[in-house]
Protein backbone atom coordinates (compact mmCIF):
# COMPACT_ATOMS: atom_id res chain seq x y z
CA UNK A 1 0.00 0.00 0.00
CA UNK A 2 1.28 3.44 -0.91
CA UNK A 3 2.31 5.55 2.04
CA UNK A 4 1.18 9.19 2.00
CA UNK A 5 2.84 10.38 5.19
CA UNK A 6 5.68 9.08 7.30
CA UNK A 7 6.24 9.93 10.93
CA UNK A 8 9.99 9.70 11.35
CA UNK A 9 11.37 9.50 14.83
CA UNK A 10 13.92 7.84 17.08
CA UNK A 11 11.93 5.62 19.41
CA UNK A 12 14.95 4.77 21.56
CA UNK A 13 15.56 8.48 22.14
CA UNK A 14 11.89 9.01 23.07
CA UNK A 15 12.00 6.01 25.40
CA UNK A 16 15.17 7.37 26.99
CA UNK A 17 13.38 10.66 27.65
CA UNK A 18 10.02 9.34 28.79
CA UNK A 19 10.62 5.80 30.06
CA UNK A 20 7.37 3.92 30.74
CA UNK A 21 5.41 7.01 29.79
CA UNK A 22 6.42 6.48 26.18
CA UNK A 23 3.25 4.37 25.97
CA UNK A 24 1.26 7.61 26.09
CA UNK A 25 3.28 8.96 23.15
CA UNK A 26 2.73 5.74 21.18
CA UNK A 27 -1.01 5.96 21.83
CA UNK A 28 -1.04 9.56 20.58
CA UNK A 29 0.89 8.53 17.44
CA UNK A 30 -1.60 5.71 16.83
CA UNK A 31 -4.45 8.20 17.24
CA UNK A 32 -2.83 10.46 14.64
CA UNK A 33 -2.45 7.55 12.22
CA UNK A 34 -6.13 6.70 12.72
CA UNK A 35 -7.19 10.32 12.26
CA UNK A 36 -5.11 10.56 9.08
CA UNK A 37 -6.80 7.41 7.78
CA UNK A 38 -10.09 9.20 8.25
CA UNK A 39 -8.78 11.85 5.86
CA UNK A 40 -7.69 9.21 3.33
CA UNK A 41 -4.03 9.59 4.29
CA UNK A 42 -2.03 6.40 4.80
CA UNK A 43 0.43 7.23 7.55
CA UNK A 44 3.28 5.06 8.77
CA UNK A 45 5.48 5.41 11.86
CA UNK A 46 9.12 4.71 11.06
CA UNK A 47 11.74 4.45 13.78
CA UNK A 48 15.15 5.35 12.39
CA UNK A 49 16.71 3.43 15.29
CA UNK A 50 14.80 0.25 14.41
CA UNK A 51 16.74 -2.38 12.48
CA UNK A 52 13.46 -3.80 11.18
CA UNK A 53 12.13 -0.46 9.96
CA UNK A 54 15.43 0.52 8.41
CA UNK A 55 16.00 -2.88 6.80
CA UNK A 56 12.63 -2.49 5.06
CA UNK A 57 13.87 0.69 3.35
CA UNK A 58 17.37 -0.59 2.79
CA UNK A 59 19.22 1.53 5.33
CA UNK A 60 21.11 1.11 8.58
CA UNK A 61 19.50 1.79 11.93
CA UNK A 62 20.63 4.99 13.61
CA UNK A 63 22.31 4.21 16.90
CA UNK A 64 22.64 7.72 18.33
CA UNK A 65 20.12 10.55 18.58
CA UNK A 66 22.86 13.02 17.67
CA UNK A 67 24.00 11.15 14.54
CA UNK A 68 23.19 13.77 11.90
CA UNK A 69 24.64 11.86 8.94
CA UNK A 70 22.81 8.71 10.01
CA UNK A 71 19.49 10.54 10.41
CA UNK A 72 19.88 12.17 7.00
CA UNK A 73 20.70 8.82 5.34
CA UNK A 74 17.71 7.23 7.06
CA UNK A 75 15.29 9.93 5.86
CA UNK A 76 16.72 9.69 2.33
CA UNK A 77 16.18 5.92 2.31
CA UNK A 78 12.66 6.26 3.68
CA UNK A 79 11.78 8.85 1.05
CA UNK A 80 13.17 6.79 -1.83
CA UNK A 81 11.45 3.63 -0.66
CA UNK A 82 8.03 4.92 0.40
CA UNK A 83 7.87 8.12 -1.70
CA UNK A 84 5.63 9.82 0.89
CA UNK A 85 3.95 13.14 0.22
CA UNK A 86 4.68 14.29 3.76
CA UNK A 87 7.65 13.66 6.05
CA UNK A 88 6.95 14.54 9.65
CA UNK A 89 10.00 14.49 11.91
CA UNK A 90 8.70 13.74 15.39
CA UNK A 91 10.58 15.16 18.34
CA UNK A 92 12.95 17.96 19.19
CA UNK A 93 16.58 18.06 18.11
CA UNK A 94 17.47 15.67 20.94
CA UNK A 95 15.34 13.02 19.19
CA UNK A 96 15.91 13.69 15.49
CA UNK A 97 18.87 16.05 15.12
CA UNK A 98 19.03 19.18 13.02
CA UNK A 99 21.74 19.00 10.37
CA UNK A 100 24.35 21.58 11.39
CA UNK A 101 25.52 23.34 8.23
CA UNK A 102 28.52 25.60 7.85
CA UNK A 103 27.56 29.22 8.41
CA UNK A 104 28.25 31.23 5.24
CA UNK A 105 28.17 34.47 7.27
CA UNK A 106 30.84 33.38 9.70
CA UNK A 107 33.60 34.70 7.48
CA UNK A 108 32.04 38.15 7.74
CA UNK A 109 31.27 38.27 11.41
CA UNK A 110 33.11 36.17 13.95
CA UNK A 111 30.29 36.67 16.47
CA UNK A 112 27.87 34.98 14.06
CA UNK A 113 26.30 31.60 14.76
CA UNK A 114 29.01 28.91 14.82
CA UNK A 115 26.86 26.85 12.44
CA UNK A 116 23.33 26.74 11.07
CA UNK A 117 21.01 24.11 12.56
CA UNK A 118 18.76 23.10 9.67
CA UNK A 119 16.02 20.70 8.65
CA UNK A 120 16.34 21.66 4.97
CA UNK A 121 18.76 18.78 4.17
CA UNK A 122 15.94 16.36 5.05
CA UNK A 123 13.94 18.02 2.26
CA UNK A 124 16.68 17.60 -0.34
CA UNK A 125 17.96 14.83 -2.61
CA UNK A 126 21.59 15.79 -2.05
CA UNK A 127 23.43 13.44 0.31
CA UNK A 128 24.63 14.51 3.75
CA UNK A 129 27.10 17.36 3.79
CA UNK A 130 27.83 20.48 5.82
CA UNK A 131 27.73 22.79 2.78
CA UNK A 132 24.57 24.93 2.74
CA UNK A 133 24.92 25.48 -1.01
CA UNK A 134 24.21 21.76 -1.51
CA UNK A 135 20.67 22.31 -0.22
CA UNK A 136 19.35 25.15 -2.36
CA UNK A 137 16.96 22.84 -4.23
CA UNK A 138 14.54 21.27 -1.74
CA UNK A 139 11.99 18.89 -3.26
CA UNK A 140 10.32 17.20 -0.28
CA UNK A 141 7.52 18.31 2.02
CA UNK A 142 9.03 18.19 5.50
CA UNK A 143 8.05 19.51 8.91
CA UNK A 144 8.97 18.81 12.50
CA UNK A 145 6.48 18.29 15.30
CA UNK A 146 8.71 18.89 18.30
CA UNK A 147 8.51 17.75 21.86
CA UNK A 148 10.30 19.75 24.54
CA UNK A 149 14.06 19.49 24.37
CA UNK A 150 15.31 17.70 27.48
CA UNK A 151 11.83 16.81 28.73
CA UNK A 152 11.18 13.74 30.88
CA UNK A 153 7.39 13.96 30.90
CA UNK A 154 5.43 13.55 27.64
CA UNK A 155 2.29 15.64 28.21
CA UNK A 156 3.47 18.38 25.85
CA UNK A 157 4.22 15.93 23.04
CA UNK A 158 0.93 14.10 23.54
CA UNK A 159 -0.87 17.45 23.37
CA UNK A 160 0.75 18.67 20.14
CA UNK A 161 0.17 15.28 18.52
CA UNK A 162 -3.50 15.49 19.46
CA UNK A 163 -3.78 19.04 18.12
CA UNK A 164 -2.36 17.96 14.76
CA UNK A 165 -4.45 14.79 14.64
CA UNK A 166 -7.66 16.73 15.25
CA UNK A 167 -6.89 19.65 12.99
CA UNK A 168 -9.75 21.37 11.22
CA UNK A 169 -9.39 22.73 7.70
CA UNK A 170 -11.27 26.02 7.90
CA UNK A 171 -12.86 28.47 5.53
CA UNK A 172 -10.62 31.31 4.33
CA UNK A 173 -12.77 33.77 6.30
CA UNK A 174 -11.50 32.14 9.51
CA UNK A 175 -8.00 33.29 8.52
CA UNK A 176 -9.03 36.67 7.14
CA UNK A 177 -7.69 38.64 10.10
CA UNK A 178 -4.16 38.76 11.44
CA UNK A 179 -2.01 39.75 14.39
CA UNK A 180 1.08 41.53 13.06
CA UNK A 181 3.83 42.75 15.34
CA UNK A 182 6.99 44.65 14.52
CA UNK A 183 9.96 46.12 16.22
CA UNK A 184 9.28 49.89 15.97
CA UNK A 185 12.56 50.42 14.09
CA UNK A 186 11.52 48.02 11.34
CA UNK A 187 7.96 49.27 10.98
CA UNK A 188 8.48 50.49 7.41
CA UNK A 189 9.71 47.08 6.29
CA UNK A 190 7.05 45.13 8.19
CA UNK A 191 4.35 47.48 6.89
CA UNK A 192 5.29 46.50 3.34
CA UNK A 193 5.10 42.80 4.24
CA UNK A 194 1.73 43.19 5.91
CA UNK A 195 0.23 45.23 3.07
CA UNK A 196 1.47 42.68 0.53
CA UNK A 197 -0.05 39.80 2.50
CA UNK A 198 -3.23 41.26 3.93
CA UNK A 199 -3.92 44.37 1.89
CA UNK A 200 -3.71 46.84 4.78
CA UNK A 201 -1.69 47.55 7.88
CA UNK A 202 -4.48 48.50 10.26
CA UNK A 203 -3.67 45.57 12.56
CA UNK A 204 0.08 46.14 12.72
CA UNK A 205 1.33 46.68 16.25
CA UNK A 206 4.71 48.20 17.02
CA UNK A 207 6.96 47.60 20.00
CA UNK A 208 7.38 49.90 21.72
CA UNK A 209 4.81 51.07 22.70
CA UNK A 210 2.66 47.93 22.35
CA UNK A 211 3.02 44.58 24.08
CA UNK A 212 3.82 42.27 25.68
CA UNK A 213 0.51 41.94 27.57
CA UNK A 214 -1.68 41.33 24.57
CA UNK A 215 -5.37 40.82 25.14
CA UNK A 216 -7.04 37.62 23.99
CA UNK A 217 -8.87 39.71 21.39
CA UNK A 218 -5.62 41.10 20.01
CA UNK A 219 -4.13 37.61 19.69
CA UNK A 220 -7.36 36.04 18.44
CA UNK A 221 -6.60 36.16 14.67
CA UNK A 222 -5.25 32.86 13.40
CA UNK A 223 -2.40 34.34 11.37
CA UNK A 224 0.46 35.82 13.38
CA UNK A 225 3.23 37.66 11.53
CA UNK A 226 6.08 38.79 13.76
CA UNK A 227 9.16 40.86 12.91
CA UNK A 228 10.98 41.51 16.16
CA UNK A 229 14.33 40.86 17.78
CA UNK A 230 14.89 37.41 19.23
CA UNK A 231 17.72 35.97 21.28
CA UNK A 232 19.19 32.52 21.72
CA UNK A 233 17.76 30.68 24.71
CA UNK A 234 15.14 33.35 25.30
CA UNK A 235 11.36 32.88 25.58
CA UNK A 236 10.68 36.46 24.47
CA UNK A 237 10.70 38.59 21.33
CA UNK A 238 11.82 42.20 21.62
CA UNK A 239 11.05 45.59 20.15
CA UNK A 240 13.47 48.47 19.83
CA UNK A 241 13.59 52.23 19.82
CA UNK A 242 16.77 54.04 18.76
CA UNK A 243 18.18 54.57 22.24
CA UNK A 244 19.39 51.08 23.07
CA UNK A 245 16.14 50.03 24.63
CA UNK A 246 14.83 46.56 23.87
CA UNK A 247 11.46 46.11 25.60
CA UNK A 248 9.76 42.72 25.57
CA UNK A 249 7.25 42.73 22.73
CA UNK A 250 5.88 39.21 22.98
CA UNK A 251 6.48 36.52 25.55
CA UNK A 252 5.95 32.79 25.82
CA UNK A 253 5.05 33.37 29.46
CA UNK A 254 1.99 35.39 28.44
CA UNK A 255 0.65 33.08 25.72
CA UNK A 256 -1.33 30.52 27.77
CA UNK A 257 -5.08 30.70 27.07
CA UNK A 258 -4.56 33.48 24.51
CA UNK A 259 -3.82 31.53 21.32
CA UNK A 260 -6.72 30.61 19.05
CA UNK A 261 -6.77 26.95 18.03
CA UNK A 262 -5.41 26.54 14.54
CA UNK A 263 -3.18 29.63 14.57
CA UNK A 264 -0.27 29.74 12.17
CA UNK A 265 2.80 31.82 13.02
CA UNK A 266 5.53 33.22 10.80
CA UNK A 267 8.32 34.81 12.83
CA UNK A 268 11.23 36.59 11.19
CA UNK A 269 12.94 36.91 14.57
CA UNK A 270 16.45 35.65 15.24
CA UNK A 271 16.27 32.27 17.01
CA UNK A 272 12.45 32.25 16.71
CA UNK A 273 12.40 28.48 16.08
CA UNK A 274 15.33 27.57 18.31
CA UNK A 275 14.43 24.40 20.22
CA UNK A 276 16.30 24.97 23.46
CA UNK A 277 15.74 23.07 26.68
CA UNK A 278 13.34 24.94 29.01
CA UNK A 279 15.65 24.08 31.90
CA UNK A 280 18.00 26.74 30.48
CA UNK A 281 15.41 29.44 31.24
CA UNK A 282 14.11 28.44 34.66
CA UNK A 283 11.65 26.00 33.06
CA UNK A 284 10.08 28.44 30.58
CA UNK A 285 9.67 26.85 27.15
CA UNK A 286 10.57 28.72 23.95
CA UNK A 287 7.90 30.86 22.32
CA UNK A 288 7.70 28.49 19.32
CA UNK A 289 7.00 25.57 21.67
CA UNK A 290 4.51 27.67 23.61
CA UNK A 291 2.52 28.52 20.49
CA UNK A 292 2.25 24.85 19.51
CA UNK A 293 1.42 23.84 23.06
CA UNK A 294 -1.43 26.34 23.06
CA UNK A 295 -3.01 24.89 19.94
CA UNK A 296 -1.25 26.61 17.05
CA UNK A 297 -0.94 24.36 14.01
CA UNK A 298 2.41 25.60 12.82
CA UNK A 299 5.33 27.90 13.55
CA UNK A 300 7.65 28.98 10.74
CA UNK A 301 10.86 30.51 12.06
CA UNK A 302 14.62 30.67 12.15
CA UNK A 303 17.02 28.55 14.16
CA UNK A 304 19.62 31.33 14.36
CA UNK A 305 20.49 34.94 13.56
CA UNK A 306 18.22 36.12 10.75
CA UNK A 307 18.62 38.90 8.19
CA UNK A 308 16.45 41.54 6.57
CA UNK A 309 16.59 45.24 5.69
CA UNK A 310 14.91 47.85 7.90
CA UNK A 311 13.07 49.67 5.14
CA UNK A 312 13.09 47.45 2.07
CA UNK A 313 12.26 43.80 1.66
CA UNK A 314 14.68 40.91 1.73
CA UNK A 315 15.70 37.60 3.27
CA UNK A 316 13.52 36.86 6.32
CA UNK A 317 10.79 39.25 5.14
CA UNK A 318 10.43 37.38 1.89
CA UNK A 319 10.60 33.78 3.03
CA UNK A 320 8.06 34.43 5.81
CA UNK A 321 5.72 36.27 3.41
CA UNK A 322 5.91 33.41 0.92
CA UNK A 323 5.05 30.90 3.64
CA UNK A 324 1.99 32.82 4.85
CA UNK A 325 0.77 33.51 1.31
CA UNK A 326 0.92 29.82 0.50
CA UNK A 327 -0.92 28.85 3.69
CA UNK A 328 -3.67 31.37 2.92
CA UNK A 329 -3.87 29.97 -0.58
CA UNK A 330 -4.83 26.58 0.84
CA UNK A 331 -1.52 24.73 0.98
CA UNK A 332 -0.64 22.27 3.71
CA UNK A 333 1.89 23.67 6.18
CA UNK A 334 4.58 21.44 4.70
CA UNK A 335 3.86 22.44 1.12
CA UNK A 336 3.76 26.10 2.16
CA UNK A 337 7.21 25.65 3.69
CA UNK A 338 8.60 23.99 0.58
CA UNK A 339 7.05 26.57 -1.73
CA UNK A 340 8.44 29.39 0.42
CA UNK A 341 11.94 27.91 0.27
CA UNK A 342 11.76 27.36 -3.47
CA UNK A 343 10.29 30.76 -4.26
CA UNK A 344 12.87 32.47 -2.06
CA UNK A 345 15.81 30.78 -3.79
CA UNK A 346 14.28 31.31 -7.24
CA UNK A 347 14.42 35.08 -6.71
CA UNK A 348 18.19 35.02 -7.14
CA UNK A 349 20.59 34.24 -9.94
CA UNK A 350 23.03 33.45 -7.16
CA UNK A 351 22.67 33.66 -3.39
CA UNK A 352 24.96 35.86 -1.32
CA UNK A 353 25.96 34.58 2.15
CA UNK A 354 22.99 36.10 3.97
CA UNK A 355 20.54 34.79 1.35
CA UNK A 356 22.11 31.37 1.56
CA UNK A 357 21.86 31.32 5.34
CA UNK A 358 18.23 32.43 5.18
CA UNK A 359 17.38 29.64 2.73
CA UNK A 360 18.56 26.93 5.13
CA UNK A 361 17.77 28.31 8.58
CA UNK A 362 13.98 28.71 8.39
CA UNK A 363 11.98 25.62 9.23
CA UNK A 364 8.45 24.46 9.96
CA UNK A 365 7.50 23.34 13.43
CA UNK A 366 4.23 21.48 13.00
CA UNK A 367 2.66 18.57 11.18
CA UNK A 368 3.40 19.19 7.47
CA UNK A 369 0.17 17.49 6.39
CA UNK A 370 -2.03 19.94 8.25
CA UNK A 371 -3.99 22.15 5.86
CA UNK A 372 -5.33 25.07 7.89
CA UNK A 373 -7.20 26.91 5.12
CA UNK A 374 -9.52 25.42 2.53
CA UNK A 375 -8.42 25.96 -1.05
CA UNK A 376 -11.09 27.50 -3.21
CA UNK A 377 -12.16 24.78 -5.66
CA UNK A 378 -12.94 25.41 -9.28
CA UNK A 379 -16.67 25.63 -9.90
CA UNK A 380 -16.57 22.63 -12.22
CA UNK A 381 -15.28 20.37 -9.46
CA UNK A 382 -18.54 21.00 -7.61
CA UNK A 383 -20.74 20.09 -10.55
CA UNK A 384 -23.02 17.08 -10.36
CA UNK A 385 -21.26 15.23 -13.16
CA UNK A 386 -17.85 15.54 -11.53
CA UNK A 387 -19.16 14.58 -8.11
CA UNK A 388 -20.80 11.49 -9.64
CA UNK A 389 -17.58 10.57 -11.43
CA UNK A 390 -15.59 10.78 -8.20
CA UNK A 391 -18.17 8.73 -6.33
CA UNK A 392 -18.19 5.99 -8.94
CA UNK A 393 -14.41 5.82 -9.15
CA UNK A 394 -14.35 6.99 -12.76
CA UNK A 395 -12.41 10.06 -11.62
CA UNK A 396 -9.63 9.73 -9.07
CA UNK A 397 -8.28 13.22 -8.41
CA UNK A 398 -4.49 13.28 -8.34
CA UNK A 399 -4.02 16.96 -7.56
CA UNK A 400 -1.56 16.32 -4.73
CA UNK A 401 0.56 14.04 -6.91
CA UNK A 402 0.71 16.69 -9.63
CA UNK A 403 1.72 19.29 -7.06
CA UNK A 404 4.49 17.03 -5.78
CA UNK A 405 5.72 16.51 -9.33
CA UNK A 406 5.82 20.28 -9.82
CA UNK A 407 7.68 20.79 -6.54
CA UNK A 408 10.25 18.12 -7.35
CA UNK A 409 10.79 19.64 -10.78
CA UNK A 410 11.14 23.14 -9.32
CA UNK A 411 13.60 22.07 -6.64
CA UNK A 412 15.60 20.01 -9.11
CA UNK A 413 15.85 22.98 -11.45
CA UNK A 414 17.03 25.23 -8.62
CA UNK A 415 19.84 22.96 -7.45
CA UNK A 416 21.01 22.58 -11.05
CA UNK A 417 21.03 26.27 -11.86
CA UNK A 418 21.37 28.58 -8.84
CA UNK A 419 24.83 29.68 -7.80
CA UNK A 420 26.04 30.62 -4.36
CA UNK A 421 28.76 32.87 -3.01
CA UNK A 422 31.42 30.98 -1.12
CA UNK A 423 34.23 32.67 0.84
CA UNK A 424 37.34 33.02 -1.27
CA UNK A 425 40.85 34.34 -1.02
CA UNK A 426 40.66 35.77 -4.56
CA UNK A 427 42.43 39.09 -4.98
CA UNK A 428 40.18 42.11 -5.01
CA UNK A 429 40.98 44.27 -8.07
CA UNK A 430 42.57 47.56 -7.05
CA UNK A 431 39.92 49.61 -8.84
CA UNK A 432 37.18 47.73 -7.01
CA UNK A 433 38.87 48.31 -3.67
CA UNK A 434 39.18 52.03 -4.46
CA UNK A 435 35.49 52.13 -5.40
CA UNK A 436 34.47 50.42 -2.18
CA UNK A 437 36.68 52.72 -0.12
CA UNK A 438 35.20 55.81 -1.76
CA UNK A 439 31.69 54.43 -1.32
CA UNK A 440 32.39 53.61 2.31
CA UNK A 441 33.70 57.11 2.89
CA UNK A 442 30.71 58.72 1.15
CA UNK A 443 28.37 56.53 3.20
CA UNK A 444 30.31 57.46 6.38
CA UNK A 445 31.17 53.86 7.23
CA UNK A 446 33.88 53.62 9.83
CA UNK A 447 36.33 50.78 10.48
CA UNK A 448 35.67 49.24 7.05
CA UNK A 449 36.50 45.56 6.58
CA UNK A 450 36.78 43.91 3.16
CA UNK A 451 35.58 40.44 2.18
CA UNK A 452 35.55 38.56 -1.10
CA UNK A 453 33.53 35.63 -2.40
CA UNK A 454 33.58 33.53 -5.53
CA UNK A 455 30.19 32.72 -7.02
CA UNK A 456 30.08 29.03 -7.78
CA UNK A 457 27.45 27.45 -9.99
CA UNK A 458 26.61 23.77 -10.17
CA UNK A 459 28.28 21.87 -13.00
CA UNK A 460 24.83 21.16 -14.38
CA UNK A 461 24.14 24.87 -14.78
CA UNK A 462 25.63 24.96 -18.28
CA UNK A 463 22.30 24.49 -19.98
CA UNK A 464 22.27 25.40 -23.69
CA UNK A 465 19.65 28.10 -23.20
CA UNK A 466 21.74 29.78 -20.52
CA UNK A 467 24.53 30.26 -23.04
CA UNK A 468 22.30 32.85 -24.65
CA UNK A 469 22.03 35.10 -21.60
CA UNK A 470 24.49 37.96 -21.50
CA UNK A 471 25.72 37.43 -17.96
CA UNK A 472 28.99 35.57 -17.55
CA UNK A 473 28.62 32.81 -14.98
CA UNK A 474 32.14 31.47 -15.34
CA UNK A 475 33.95 34.27 -13.53
CA UNK A 476 31.62 35.99 -11.09
CA UNK A 477 32.75 37.31 -7.75
CA UNK A 478 31.37 39.37 -4.89
CA UNK A 479 33.35 41.93 -2.94
CA UNK A 480 32.09 43.65 0.15
CA UNK A 481 33.03 46.41 2.55
CA UNK A 482 31.39 46.17 5.94
CA UNK A 483 31.51 48.54 8.91
CA UNK A 484 29.47 50.80 11.16
CA UNK A 485 28.21 54.33 10.63
CA UNK A 486 29.72 57.28 12.37
CA UNK A 487 27.67 57.90 15.49
CA UNK A 488 26.45 61.38 14.46
CA UNK A 489 24.79 60.00 11.36
CA UNK A 490 23.31 57.10 13.24
CA UNK A 491 21.69 59.42 15.75
CA UNK A 492 20.24 61.64 13.06
CA UNK A 493 18.82 58.84 11.01
CA UNK A 494 18.79 55.57 12.90
CA UNK A 495 16.94 53.71 10.18
CA UNK A 496 19.59 54.42 7.57
CA UNK A 497 22.68 52.96 9.16
CA UNK A 498 24.74 51.47 6.36
CA UNK A 499 26.74 48.44 7.27
CA UNK A 500 27.81 46.94 3.97
CA UNK A 501 28.33 47.84 0.34
CA UNK A 502 28.40 44.89 -1.99
CA UNK A 503 29.63 44.75 -5.57
CA UNK A 504 29.18 41.90 -7.98
CA UNK A 505 31.82 41.47 -10.67
CA UNK A 506 31.96 39.45 -13.83
CA UNK A 507 35.53 39.04 -14.98
CA UNK A 508 37.05 42.43 -14.14
CA UNK A 509 33.87 44.45 -14.57
CA UNK A 510 31.60 45.67 -11.76
CA UNK A 511 28.09 44.74 -12.88
CA UNK A 512 25.97 45.28 -9.78
CA UNK A 513 26.19 47.30 -6.57
CA UNK A 514 23.99 47.52 -3.51
CA UNK A 515 24.04 48.91 -0.02
CA UNK A 516 22.74 46.81 2.86
CA UNK A 517 21.05 48.85 5.54
CA UNK A 518 21.48 47.36 8.93
CA UNK A 519 19.07 47.12 11.81
Amino acid sequence: MAVDKVIVTNVAALRAKYGDKFARVKAAIDAMIAADAGRNLVTRLIAIDSQTDMARVGARAVTSAIDQAGAKAAVDAIYRHDRPDYIMLLGSRDVVPHIHLANPMLDLDKEEDPDVPSDVPYACEAPFSRRPEDFLGPTRVVGRLPDLNGADEPSYLVKVLATAAKFVCRDPKDYSTHFALTNQLWRRSTRKSVIKLFGDDSSLFSSPPNGPRWTAAQLAPRIHFINCHGGSVSPDFFGEIPKRSFPIAHSARLLPARVTKGSVVAAECCFGAELYAPSSTHGQMAICNAYLGEGAYGFFGSTGIAYGPSTGQGQADLICQFFVASVLDGASLGRATLEARQLFVSKYSHTDPSDLKTAVQFLLLGDPSVQPVKAEPHAFSGSKVVKRAVKSGLLKPEAREFRRERLVRTGSNLIRTVGSAVPSKIRMPAATRRFLLRAAKESRIQRPTFKSFQVKFPRTAKLPELKNVRTDRTDRSIHMVIGTLRRKVARESPERIVTAIIVTMERQQIVHVRRVHSR
Binding site: E112, H229, G231, F238, E240, S518, R519
Partner: protein, 76 residues
Protein backbone atom coordinates in the same frame (compact mmCIF):
# COMPACT_ATOMS: atom_id res chain seq x y z
CA UNK B 1 30.82 25.53 32.09
CA UNK B 2 33.10 28.06 33.80
CA UNK B 3 34.62 30.92 31.82
CA UNK B 4 36.90 33.74 32.92
CA UNK B 5 37.70 36.92 31.03
CA UNK B 6 37.37 40.65 30.52
CA UNK B 7 34.04 42.26 29.69
CA UNK B 8 34.05 44.75 26.81
CA UNK B 9 31.35 46.47 24.80
CA UNK B 10 31.08 45.74 21.09
CA UNK B 11 28.57 46.10 18.24
CA UNK B 12 27.76 42.63 16.96
CA UNK B 13 25.75 40.82 14.28
CA UNK B 14 26.22 43.65 11.81
CA UNK B 15 23.49 43.81 9.21
CA UNK B 16 21.39 41.15 10.87
CA UNK B 17 18.00 41.46 12.49
CA UNK B 18 19.70 41.41 15.87
CA UNK B 19 22.49 43.95 15.34
CA UNK B 20 23.14 45.64 18.66
CA UNK B 21 25.77 46.76 21.15
CA UNK B 22 26.62 43.92 23.45
CA UNK B 23 28.76 43.17 26.48
CA UNK B 24 31.30 40.59 25.35
CA UNK B 25 33.35 38.29 27.52
CA UNK B 26 36.83 38.04 26.07
CA UNK B 27 38.39 34.75 27.17
CA UNK B 28 41.33 32.61 26.14
CA UNK B 29 38.82 30.45 24.24
CA UNK B 30 37.33 33.32 22.27
CA UNK B 31 34.70 36.00 22.67
CA UNK B 32 31.18 35.33 23.91
CA UNK B 33 28.21 37.62 24.13
CA UNK B 34 27.53 37.89 27.86
CA UNK B 35 24.11 37.32 29.39
CA UNK B 36 22.65 36.55 32.77
CA UNK B 37 20.03 33.80 32.85
CA UNK B 38 16.58 35.33 32.79
CA UNK B 39 17.86 38.74 31.72
CA UNK B 40 17.08 40.71 28.58
CA UNK B 41 19.43 39.30 25.90
CA UNK B 42 19.88 42.69 24.24
CA UNK B 43 20.31 45.15 27.07
CA UNK B 44 20.59 44.12 30.69
CA UNK B 45 21.70 46.67 33.31
CA UNK B 46 23.26 43.89 35.39
CA UNK B 47 25.46 42.84 32.47
CA UNK B 48 26.17 46.43 31.44
CA UNK B 49 27.56 47.05 34.91
CA UNK B 50 30.21 44.41 34.25
CA UNK B 51 31.75 46.23 31.27
CA UNK B 52 35.37 47.05 32.03
CA UNK B 53 35.65 44.34 34.67
CA UNK B 54 37.22 40.90 34.79
CA UNK B 55 34.83 38.18 35.85
CA UNK B 56 34.53 34.43 36.30
CA UNK B 57 31.11 33.00 35.47
CA UNK B 58 29.33 29.68 35.44
CA UNK B 59 26.62 28.88 32.92
CA UNK B 60 25.97 27.53 29.45
CA UNK B 61 27.24 28.46 25.99
CA UNK B 62 24.69 28.65 23.18
CA UNK B 63 25.24 30.24 19.76
CA UNK B 64 28.38 32.05 20.97
CA UNK B 65 26.54 33.43 23.96
CA UNK B 66 27.59 32.76 27.52
CA UNK B 67 24.47 32.69 29.68
CA UNK B 68 25.55 32.87 33.31
CA UNK B 69 23.76 31.34 36.24
CA UNK B 70 26.24 32.93 38.63
CA UNK B 71 29.43 34.99 38.46
CA UNK B 72 32.01 36.80 40.53
CA UNK B 73 33.90 39.98 39.75
CA UNK B 74 37.63 39.35 39.91
CA UNK B 75 38.82 42.85 39.08
CA UNK B 76 36.67 45.94 38.82
Amino acid sequence: MVLEGDVVRKRIHLGSKSEHDAAMLVTADGEFKLRVQGGNPFVDPEVEALVGKRIRGEGLVSARQFIMERYEVLRG
